[in-house]
Symmetry: C2
Amino acid sequence: MQNPTAAMLVIGDEILSGRTRDSNMNHLAKELTKHGIDLKEARVVSDDAQAITEAARSLSAGYDHVFTSGGIGPTHDDITAECIAAAFDAPIGVREDARAILQTYYERQGQELNEARLRMARIPDGAALIDNPISAAPGFILQNVHVMAGVPVIFETMVASVLPTLTGGAPLLSQSLRVERGEGEIASALTAVAEAYPDLSFGSYPFSQNGIYGTNIVVRGQDGAQLDQAMTALAEAMQT
Amino acid sequence: MQNPTAAMLVIGDEILSGRTRDSNMNHLAKELTKHGIDLKEARVVSDDAQAITEAARSLSAGYDHVFTSGGIGPTHDDITAECIAAAFDAPIGVREDARAILQTYYERQGQELNEARLRMARIPDGAALIDNPISAAPGFILQNVHVMAGVPVIFETMVASVLPTLTGGAPLLSQSLRVERGEGEIASALTAVAEAYPDLSFGSYPFSQNGIYGTNIVVRGQDGAQLDQAMTALAEAMQT
């Protein structure tokens, strides 16, 4: 059985200018892998309405699930909610449920739910809210797109609350073998083992560490017993 | 004058499974920013021929320059060169100039240029080689696509040798202001300053550090004097 597929859309000039190093992609990738959902593609686009809308539409059509990060705060450069609404021709405005969440949060802090903060209650019609226990402003799910915050700790919390609601396939298991020989030396033996196990995927990643050149071979698949067999075959092939 | 635009294509299952954290994107982003080329989009795709070919074709058509990383080694999962050739309908085979480079390198190391290693001499017709002073196997440039290694130290060396050959625009300058107030509190003052300087881009990034919630405001633009003015205006606006 094929696992469900997913794509990620990272939104933010600060990633593309190199000012900030994205960490949400790696977190989501690991969590999806554990959950049996295959992350097939990730895109980073700038805070540009057309770029966000087009990417969301294209990824939504191409994959079972889409996860976005970034651009849902209170400032003028936070345009993700509008863009996702536009991608699906959904009306968007301040929604009462989202406004109530923000109102409660800011009242408790003795702060005002001003016009800027109220922007964070703009949710497309028909979307389900994603809880934000850290700073209240909710994410949302519209069709197959999960719109989440860019701040890593909030993104991670939202991922944790969303993933259990999605049906995953068999988790992708992986094992790795470290070989202290270059890729070019082991390539043909590796190919032979890979061809003997067509259900598994074999990746080879060169490394150089303290003057030692070598290769990490990573084997991935859903069947643990088959994976064990392949690792044994691999270890033998690499000794010759 | 508009700066040239660029996109990056990261190729590799190991990024999408979460096993490896990509660092090439952040490096390229910083270098392009310094060089006055605007990185507008980045995509990560898996070791899948159709995904690589389609992404390369689409990014090549959409941006002035494309930079790829990953998938040019000697093993069966290294299919980038074939895919880029396919994207432009260019024939591909072992090229004499690339073979000579590898031959010299492996002879000097007392190693054999075997069939697997010879794969790394497969270069599309019409491509220019990119020097690899570390492990010899060259990258290449086909039309506006720069095909480079995934191993960060090699990728970075290739970027360093390629960038001086590209005409950059004015480097994007940036200054930032740290404000110990939440985004929602400063949003309207920030918008007012941003509207007064339409040539500059204003980004706001919330942080929480040792219990302090605040916002980093980053202003970017090509005109240093204007940037200075805007920062002064911003600092004043944030004091009220």
